[in-house]
Each structure stands twice: as C-alpha cells, then as structure tokens.
Symmetry: C2
Subunit: 430 residues, 2 copies
C-alpha cells in the first residue's frame, strides 16, 4: 500500500461536495495529523455535467456508484447517497465485497442493515464507519464507543433532528402554530419540501437505533423504536408547558430497565433548568449517562455541509491511523437481539390537557377518573373563563405506567363535560 489513501466518493450533493472541499482545504493538515495523504481518485453522481461549482477533472467518473465501489482504484468508499435501500445499499455492499473500507453518512442504511453490514466488514477486516450518520458534526460515535468504553450505559437520549428542534424553538419564540413554523423552516432551508421524514420522527429514530446499539451492545433494531413526530404539538401546549417550567422537545431516548430496552422518539416536556432544554434552533445534542462518567452532553450542528464533512473526514483520519475496532463497539457476531419492552410498560410522568365546559360536577368527574385508575396528580392549572368559553385544564400526572395514563385519557374523553380528545405528552424529568 502506498502512503496515500485513495478515496472514491459516491454522491455529490451537499455533503459530497463539502467532503471534497474539506479534503482540498485541509489535506496538508490531515496529513500532519495522521501521517497519510488522502487522494480522491473517483466520484459518482447521476449527472456528470451538472454545474456544481467544482471541477471533476482528475477523478474517474462513474454513473453507477455500485460499479465504482467495486472497480475504482481506491482503498475507501465514501457513501453519501442516502436511503436504506437502492443504490446506497448496493454501493456499500459492493465496497464490502471488494474488501474496501466504507465511510458513510447514511443513518437509514445503518439503522436498517447495520448489523449485517458490520458482520461483512468485520469478516473482511475492513472498517465500516458512520460518524456522520448520527448528529452530523458531533463526534458522538467516537465518544460512546471509545470515550465511554469503560462505562456501563444507563441511558442515552437527545435532540437528534435539527428540523424539529428549529420548528419547536420558533413556535415558542414567535408564538406561532406548527404549520407556520414549518413553512418558515422550509424557507430557511432547514426543512425539506417533503418534511415528513423529519417531522414524523423517522430520521431521529434511525439515529436513536444506532446510538442504542452502541450504548447497549445489541443488534441495531430500528423496527422496535416507538416513533411519534411533532405535527400534533400546538402553540397552546408549548405555552402551557412553559408555564409549568418545561420546554417541549422532540427527544430520542434509549434506556435499560427491568423489562428490557426502551427505544422511543416522541415530543416530551423537559425541565427548563436542564442543559438539553437550552439547546435551541437547528442544534443537536446527545446526553449519555454512564455508571462512572455520570452525565455527559455533546452539543453541535447535526447537519449541513461543513459539520457532516467534518465527521466523514474524522472517519477517514481514523482509518489512516489504522484505528481498528468493532463497528458497534463489540464484535458484530456478539451483538445480541434486543429485548424490547412495550410502551404500555413505560413508566413516566405525563402532561394532560383537557378542554372542558365549565359546568358543575366536571372536576369531580375528572378526580374520580384519576382515583379509579389509581393515578395521582402532581399539579393542575386552569385557564380561560370568559362566559361560554371552554376552560383549559392542564394536569401533570405523577409517575405511572403508560397503560394507566392512557386509560385515564380515554376515560376523561368519555366524560360529559370534556369537549375533545385530551392531549397527552410525556414528561421526562431528566
């Protein structure tokens, strides 16, 4: 092997071009740091002639990324196409078949096929690296797999989707509803034209599945992540949560309890005073709780050309430095299947908002529902008292099993004076 590491880049979108730019600008710096030169030998994209503002001269060009992965003159294939199937998957599989190292920013691919791909890479003795797949520029994979290697991890959670965090931040700051904040996010370039992947929590769930596997040493199991998005969050709930001392965030949370592993993505109320509540706008943040290190939080940019290219190139530097460790922290053939718990068994506190008619007996009925379900209330807040106007009642419930909280909500909805389906949002007292 010559001193230079040859790289083939599949996908010339924002991150692909950012990676080329970084390698051009910091090639010397990276060589000083790892003793190897990086040389891009081949690139692949759908349209060679699209104007990208950079010359592709000097690179072998492939229309078919999988063909490039198999045939290009390279040591490392960098996959920046995206998607769990199709060309991206074919490219990574072709690269592994050809015993090349793979660096990818593809969270969907790793979340769905991570274990199988890791088995292949480890059988080859090559690297499958994906720092850029989770939280962009934040080196959370490295922190978990190496920095916290001597800890038992109790839980890992975070703000894993910048689009959702931007929308929720705007809703609070501007007092606007979800739709208006989404349109604003699209105008600002922090939401896609079709935003469902982000706002329905799927993107965060992909990242959470990867983090959970690293934290707990199990096979990546995206299918068992409980996923809810933020479409149903109203400015009223954001405002009432503030009044109660909470901020609403979309969190991905993986934790271990007596029933097994919980993996969930959903909006939740987090106390104002916590560090994660202070993470605003497009920023991402991940908190790991280790039994020795205690609480560790990493915060940074979870997307974008520069931060994602930074993570891709950190993986390249690792390969150049011959850092070799199991893809998910322990050898892939030792990863166990996940022992997943169901959300019914989840224990937590809850925010419940009711719209009620202000008539005698309503509160007695609400109280009776709580009593009958053996659920106790921590606080109650009432708003709105104009004649004929519905009254907003917000309760926070003490820790209970989710199945009980859900029963409470169903029973409340059946009460005479309750006007619409109550809103229930989980509270995370982190």
């Amino acid at each position: 092997m010559s001193n230079s590491l040859k790289i083939a880049v599949a996908g010339l979108g924002t991150v692909g071009l950012g990676t080329l730019k970084l390698l051009r600008e910091h090639g010397d710096l990276m060589e000083r740091r790892c003793g190897r030169r990086f040389e891009v030998t081949a690139v692949s994209a759908l349209d060679k002639n699209k104007n990208r503002g950079v010359s592709l001269d000097g690179f072998d060009f492939f229309e078919d990324a999988a063909e490039m992965a198999a045939k290009a003159n390279c040591d490392i294939v960098v996959e920046l196409i995206g998607g769990s199937e199709g060309v991206a998957r074919a490219t990574v599989e072709a690269a592994l078949r050809a015993s090349r190292h793979v660096v990818t920013a593809n969270k969907a691919l790793i979340a769905v096929h991570g274990t199988q791909l890791a088995l292949k890479a480890e059988a080859n003795g090559t690297t499958l690296a994906f720092e850029a797949a989770v939280a962009g520029g934040i080196p959370i994979i490295k922190a978990l797999r190496e920095g916290l290697a001597s800890n038992g991890i109790k839980s890992i959670y975070g703000i894993l989707n910048g689009t959702c965090n931007y929308i929720l931040s705007r809703m609070r700051d501007e007092g606007i509803e979800f739709q208006a904040a989404l349109i604003d996010a699209q105008r600002m370039g922090c939401a896609e034209a079709d935003p469902s992947f982000d706002i329905d929590g799927v993107d965060a769930a992909h990242k959470l599945a990867i983090l959970a596997s690293l934290a707990f040493g199990h096979q990546v199991d995206f299918d068992n992540v409980h996923v809810e998005g933020i479409r149903h969050i109203s400015k009223m709930d954001i405002h009432l949560a503030e009044e109660l001392g909470y901020r609403i965030k979309l969190l991905g949370i993986a934790s271990k309890n007596e029933n097994g592993i919980e993996q969930r993505v959903h909006p939740c109320l987090v106390p104002h005073a916590t560090s994660i509540a202070c993470v605003e706008g497009v920023f991402n943040a991940i908190v790991a709780e280790g039994d020795f290190v205690d609480t560790l939080m990493l915060e940074g940019r979870g997307a974008g050309e520069g931060p994602t290219a930074s993570a891709v190139c950190a993986d390249l530097v690792n390969i150049a430095r011959s850092f070799d460790l199991p893809t998910f922290g322990i050898p892939a053939d030792q990863l166990k299947a996940v022992n997943t718990t169901t959300m019914d068994l989840h224990k937590g506190a809850y925010y419940v908002r009711l719209m009620v008619v202000d008539q005698p007996g309503v509160f007695a009925d609400v109280a009776a529902v709580l009593r009958d379900n053996e659920v106790s209330m921590e606080s109650i807040l009432q708003h709105g008292r104009l004649p004929g106007e519905a009254v907003t009642v917000v309760m926070t419930l003490h820790e209970t099993e989710e199945i009980c909280a859900s029963r409470v909500v169903d029973s409340l909805f059946n009460l005479d004076g309750v006007l619409e389906k109550p809103v229930m949002i989980r509270i995370e007292n982190l």
Copy 2:
C-alpha cells in the same frame, strides 16, 4: 506479550481507588470492547496500611512510585499522584525510561512538562495519555485530537474548573458574597481546604494550556497563559451582569488572531442565551470552534472518582486497542513554540462598574474620559439614589483594545467624583 495488559497504579487517593473499582466492576465489559484483559499488578502509595476500604492483596506494593514505574511487572503505569514536580514527575519519567505506556490525570505535569514528556514517549513508541487531566470525564482530548482532526480550530474555550463554577453559581442563586460561597463549597466537598489553586485560576490555566496545544499544534506553554481568578467578583457585579443579560463565568479561552495565540483564564460576562451560560454548579464544559464543524460543546463532570476513573480507563482501552497517535495530535518534534500575544493587544468588550458621588459634572467627566480614549459605550445603567448614598454606574464598552479599556479605567479612577477603583470585567460575546 500475553493477552492481558498489566497495570501499575501510582497513587491511591480518590481517583486511584476509583480506577481500581472501575477495573474490578467493568473488567469483563472492557475486555469485550477491546479484546484485552486488564490486570492490576502493582500499586504505590505513601502508607500501605491506611484503611482504604479495599484490599491491596495480590498487588505488589511499592512505597516509592518511581521505583514501581521502573521495576514493576507492568505494561502501563497509571500516575494519579499529581503535581508538576516531585514524585509524580519522577514516576512518569521513570516509566518512560523503562519504555512503558503512561496514563496520567496530572494536568500540572502535562501543562508544564508535556512537550518534553511527549518527545520521550514518541521516541520510545509508547503512549503518553492524559484524557483525565482535562475536564475529568469529558472526552475532550479524544474529541479534539480525533473527532475534530480534519478541522482548523479557531478557538477553544470553556468552564474548566468546577469549584469556581460552583461558587459563581451559588453567589448568583443565593445572592451571597464570594467568601460565603467558598465556605459553602468547602463544606460540600467541592473546594479544597487551601482553595487558591482553583479559585485563582491556576488549575483552569493548566487545562487550557493543554487544550491550546492540541487545538493549535504548538508546544504546551503554561507560562504564557494570562491568569486571573474569581476572588474579586462581588455579588453586586453578578447581579448587575444579570440585569444586562449576562452571567459571570470563569472561562479559559485560547484563540488565534493576527497577532498570534491568546491564552487566558479570567472571569467574564457571557450572554444568557449561550449554551455555556447554562452550565451550572460543578459541571465543566468546553466549546471548540472548528472551521468545518462550527461550534461543538461538551459538558459533563470535570472531577470526582467516577468521572476521572472513566477517563483514565478510556485511555487504557485505547492502549489495548493499539490506538497509536501523536501525543498532541501531531508529532511532538513538529510542535512549534507558541507565538503568544499580550493582553494589551486583546480586543474585546468590557463591563466597567463605577461608584460615584452624585454631584454635578461627574457624568460629563466620565463621558470625556471615554471620548479622549476613543472608546465608545454600548449601554449604561445607574442604581442607588438615597440621599448621600454613592451611585453605582455600570457601562458596557464596545469592542476596543484592552490597553485602551485599561487607560479608561485608570482615568476614571482619577476623576474627582469616583470613589473607588472601577471594576473592569471582560465581556465575551461568544
């Protein structure tokens, strides 16, 4: 080399015992993660028979840590004694002479002798690792040297001393003066009986010198860190800063500008809305600004048995995984001497508090001083108006060179109506 890595631990204080505990509890987990067993073969402490609540049976005991480092049956010497000279230095030097790997939590030693020690380790081909020396459990060395390896670093700054951050948090929360908060910190076990090392900024300066070396690729240069502590911070300044939208934090800041490298530790005003302002109590946090990754913050526990042991053992796992990279990110013989700037050339904004007698002409005099020094004011705040009472006047100055701001303060002190030396605190608009 057998499959197990043999470890000699020098120093059985809090961190030493924590490290033994971690290795006992998580030996199996660490072996799964790095494929090697860790075996403590020798320990050293001043008094063998002190009751530590753990048995030292099975370890070779040495009263002289340097002798242990030279003679014990071990691959790695873990130095947890502390101090830049004396036994700690002798131990590390003996270990390097014997071509053993060294893991240390000793910030003073690395800040003062880091470059020389790195040269020796690299000449040996052994590792000198010090993740635990900076910010306890936070894997900031790994993040900087590896996670951000493909970035040019523009600045690195942070809350590097938990004692100071605890004291400043208490002063604000309880409205108490420095002395009362210090006594409280001592009672809570987060300040030493002799607290000067922490509260005068020396500890933070040690850590900053190490971070700056990693960030900018120069020789560690503790002597050129500008250091101020927090003894002179009053509850009045904390309160007034809050009113202006700032929080007072002791930060260590290293940055690069046209004059060279600035390394400074001092109290400063940081805007409320920044993530670092939200870091409270004994927590530490470090922010790195890279040209591709943008802003990255890591927050966690900067001291204590568990977090520090976590960092020590992360270094052990790196050694077991044969991760080999230059001590300060680039080979030690390529580290340049620092091109240090002086604080006079520092450009920044300033908070200036005056106590003045409320007599005609004082404000005109103050305004004239600013005009004559070509410094402009951003905002002004006035408090206190009881008959005969001094008036508190707080100004924030727009960005200027420190030499100008200092001249302003000296001139203000010379004014007739100004009762005491004005307080000047730097503002960091991060």
